[in-house]
Amino acid sequence: MTNITVRIKRFNPDTDDKPRWQDYTVALDTEKTVLDALEEIKSEQDGSLTFRRSCRHAICGSCAMMVNRKNGLVCTKPLKEAVEEVGFFGAKNTVTIEPLPYLPVIKDLVVDQSVFWQQYEAVRPWVIPVENIPTKEFRMSQAEVDAMNRAETCIMCGACYSSCPVIAGNKSYIGPHALLKLFLRVMDPRDTEIEARLDQIANDNGAFRCHKVSNCIGACPKGLNPAQAISALGNMALRANKLSQARAERLKTLIAQVEASASE
């Protein structure tokens, strides 16, 4: 079995003046993921190496970091694939791992995502439904679910956020993750505040700030398309009033269907 080098950017603000690189050697095994390599280093070589992880299969969003200069989840990334990529340093048989960029480092590969979460909360991620809630479910169509383009499957890992060049320069920008969430709510026929939501992002820190670099698409481990959602939001914002009227009509049918079915 070949040995490879895992080169990790390390930083403990309590003891280090600046980040430093540290190399570890692990055996390359085709069944190993990059996370397995990190776990192995931590448990056998250096317990102080610090990173987040939990579910191990790309649903909890804990382990987003930068591998070979590209953001993603390490739990599903095969180590072999990482080795075969050209590393930042061009070194053979070397995988480089760094924390997600544009965020303060707490320790090693753990970043402080407070701003990221604040922006998520700022878009009011919850649905704001009608006041007269039906006794059964709203009659939403599968086509309406499909139109959300799987935005509901976003795991909030932050890979897109930390790949966005706009975020790099401007933390007031609301960010691809929060805009994707907002897109989900705007597309949801049960939501009553489409106009207010579109109004919230029709400005220079919202959908119009996106430079369409589209790094977010490549970074997303769930295959989602924040750039497209942001672009759609921008277009929708220009006709928010009309969409709001259409939503009001749809809400009537959503409820009427339910009431009709209840009286069947």
């Binding site: 309590d14 448990s43 102080s48 939990s54 299969h57 790309a58 707490i106 991620p125 049960r190």
Partner: protein, 602 residues
């Protein structure tokens, strides 16, 4: 940092998965303003989000097409048609699934509340898959006699978790994200708060509260092959036990039939719910030998035992012959892409196969903890067989044992249990607080300082120079639990396991962690987690050794049949005054007229 800080809340909730978040949201909605929710990971990283296949409730939106059999097509129920499902059916399926160890009065509550809980999720914005007429779509699941798994493709837990977390934010719940629970402050039968550590800063803080709810999840990490997240180390269960609370039915641990071969990561039961087959090395659908009627859709305990039997008899697959094939090819690309997209991705990532065209290798994986902290239907923790309440202490979700799952949980009943009983606990806690509950004084002893000393011991060099690597210790524990407290157990295997666990408990005193820093020290937390695992693993093995019968997920090769005369009872275990565990038993609530124990055949 002196660790002297005390934070006071009316309610402290530990765990922010479905159970903890429901409780927090409901209590806040009911007017309790001062709630703090602690979670060792960010709330949206909680393991509820990993659940895939569905959440049970007898909505009756979908029914089998007449004449197509157990794995035939489903259709939406036309307006005016006879309801194809009922809470009574859901009740009976759950009782039978539990092998009659579930308390029937509590199961009644579970299946009844189910309906309104699902609708409430929908009204809160949860994105479910839909039928043609816009209702919540449903699929089949093991052990359920009607299609009642309400689903969102195969990411149901994920959308439920995000929905309930959003509602917590809407209602202004305060979260303490990345805080590790260290101790429950329980004295004279009254909960007074908890001690926890802010993982980022390393500060240890005492939380003083009128009510404490544990929603800390299951204890599956003590097994080598497991579907559980690394966070699921049974912290709450072990900590409640050490504080003097009893635990119930700890020996019942569910092995899920379809974990990814060698990794244990879950491939949803929805694979079989949608019509997948299990094949042995000879290519046979071996389930026809074990469950001729339900086949692959028999309950998990039965399917996992069948797989393990095939493996033990030499008909396994893979390089070590410990695997089984899951065949989904006949479902077709469209169904897989719309119903099982996440599963397809998981198989690609970990097995390198596309389930549209290839077989997936799977094996049984430790999945769900039926046992836990005993509660009533309102999350109130009980101290004994007489159901004496521990004042101010609540538990819900996988760490609790209500018991609605008895000896074996049915798939889709866990998201349901976490939601129903988290929600009920929220209402109960709101009544408790608004009814004038007072802050009981904190214990006189210096609990936070004692926890600091515990961590300091783990970080300091031992004088005798005998340092046991943590990894070696935890791997020995996991191997022991898999080999000796796994799908099949016997007196011999359990005695071996207990001896090993006792030795490891001794060895743990010689563990020294490598990271000695204060900030974000996951090395020392891993040791704390192993400490918890060593505590509850002993209780699992002890309960299993005492229970001389086979029931649900507890299969004794030396006592292969169910024994209702001697063992139709819950196991309680609590710490005696000398620190050793003490077993006692509690009656199961059974409606002897309507639902007496029957032979369990599928």
């Amino acid at each position: 940092m002196s660790d002297a800080r005390v934070i006071t809340h009316d309610v402290v909730i530990v765990g922010a998965g479905l159970a903890g978040s429901w409780a927090a949201m409901v209590a806040a909605r009911e007017g309790v303003t001062n709630i703090g929710v602690l979670s060792k990971v960010h709330p949206l990283r909680s393991h509820s989000g990993a659940a895939q296949g569905g959440i049970a409730a007898a909505l009756g939106n979908v029914r089998p097409v007449a004449g197509t059999g157990e794995d035939g097509a489903l259709e939406q129920v036309p307006a005016g048609a006879e309801p194809p499902d009922s809470i009574d059916l859901h009740f009976f399926d759950t009782v039978k699934g539990s092998d009659w160890l579930g308390d029937q009065d509590k199961i009644k509550v579970l299946v009844t509340d189910a309906i309104e809980v699902i609708y409430e999720y929908e009204h809160m914005g949860c994105v479910f898959s839909r039928t043609d007429d816009g209702r919540i779509n449903q699929r089949r699941f093991g052990g359920h006699s009607a299609p009642r798994a309400n689903f969102a493709a195969d990411w149901t837990g994920h959308v439920l978790l995000h929905t309930i977390h959003e509602q917590c934010l809407k209602h202004g719940v305060k979260f303490y994200s990345e805080w590790q629970l260290l101790e429950l402050l329980l004295e004279d039968g009254v909960a007074r708060g908890v001690v926890a550590m802010d993982i980022v800063s390393g500060e240890i803080v005492t939380f003083h509260a009128k009510a404490v709810l544990f929603a800390t999840g299951g204890y599956g990490r003590a097994w080598k092959i497991t579907s559980n997240a690394t966070a699921n180390t049974g912290d709450g269960v072990a900590i409640a036990y050490r504080a003097g609370a009893p635990l119930m039915d700890m020996e019942f641990v569910q092995f899920h039939p379809t974990g990814i071969y060698k990794h244990g990561i879950l491939m949803s039961e929805a694979c079989r719910g949608e019509g997948g087959y299990l094949l042995n090395a000879a290519g046979e659908r071996f389930m026809e030998k074990y469950a001729p009627s339900k086949m692959e859709l028999a309950p998990r305990d039965l399917v996992s035992r069948s797989e393990q039997t095939e493996i033990n008899e030499g008909r396994g697959v893979g390089d070590d012959k410990q695997g089984i094939y899951l065949d989904l090819r006949h479902l077709g690309k469209e169904k897989i892409m719309t119903r099982l997209p996440q599963v397809r991705e998981i198989a690609m990532n970990f097995l390198g196969v596309d389930i549209v065209y290839e077989l997936a290798k799977i094996q049984p994986t430790a999945h769900y903890s039926m046992g836990g902290i005993p509660t009533d239907v309102d999350g109130q923790v009980i101290a004994d067989a007489n159901e004496t309440p521990i004042v101010g202490f609540y538990a819900a979700g996988e760490c609790a044992c209500v018991s609605v799952h008895g000896a074996n949980r049915l798939g889709t009943n866990s998201l349901l249990e976490a939601s129903v009983f988290g929600r009920r606990a929220g209402y109960a806690i709101a009544r408790f607080i608004k009814g004038g509950a007072k802050l009981a004084p904190l214990p006189a002893r210096a609990a936070a300082a004692a926890q600091r000393a515990r961590l300091a011991r783990l970080m300091s060099r031992h004088e005798n120079g005998r340092n046991v690597p943590l990894k070696q210790l935890s791997e020995t524990l996991k191997k022991t639990m898999t080999d000796h407290v796994g799908i099949f157990r016997s007196q011999e295997s359990l005695e071996t396991a207990l001896a090993t666990i006792h030795r490891l408990q001794g060895d743990f005193q010689h563990v020294r962690v490598m990271d000695t820093s204060r900030r974000y020290n996951t090395d020392v937390l891993a040791a704390v987690e192993v400490d918890h695992m060593l505590t509850f693993s002993e209780l699992v093995a002890l309960g299993a050794l005492a229970r001389r019968e086979s029931r649900g997920a507890h299969a004794r090769t030396d006592y292969p049949t169910r024994d209702d005369n001697a063992w139709l009872k819950h196991t309680l275990v609590r710490q005696s005054s000398d620190g050793t565990p003490e077993l006692s038993y509690k009656d199961v609530t059974i409606d002897w007229e309507k639902c007496p124990p029957q032979a369990r055949k599928y």
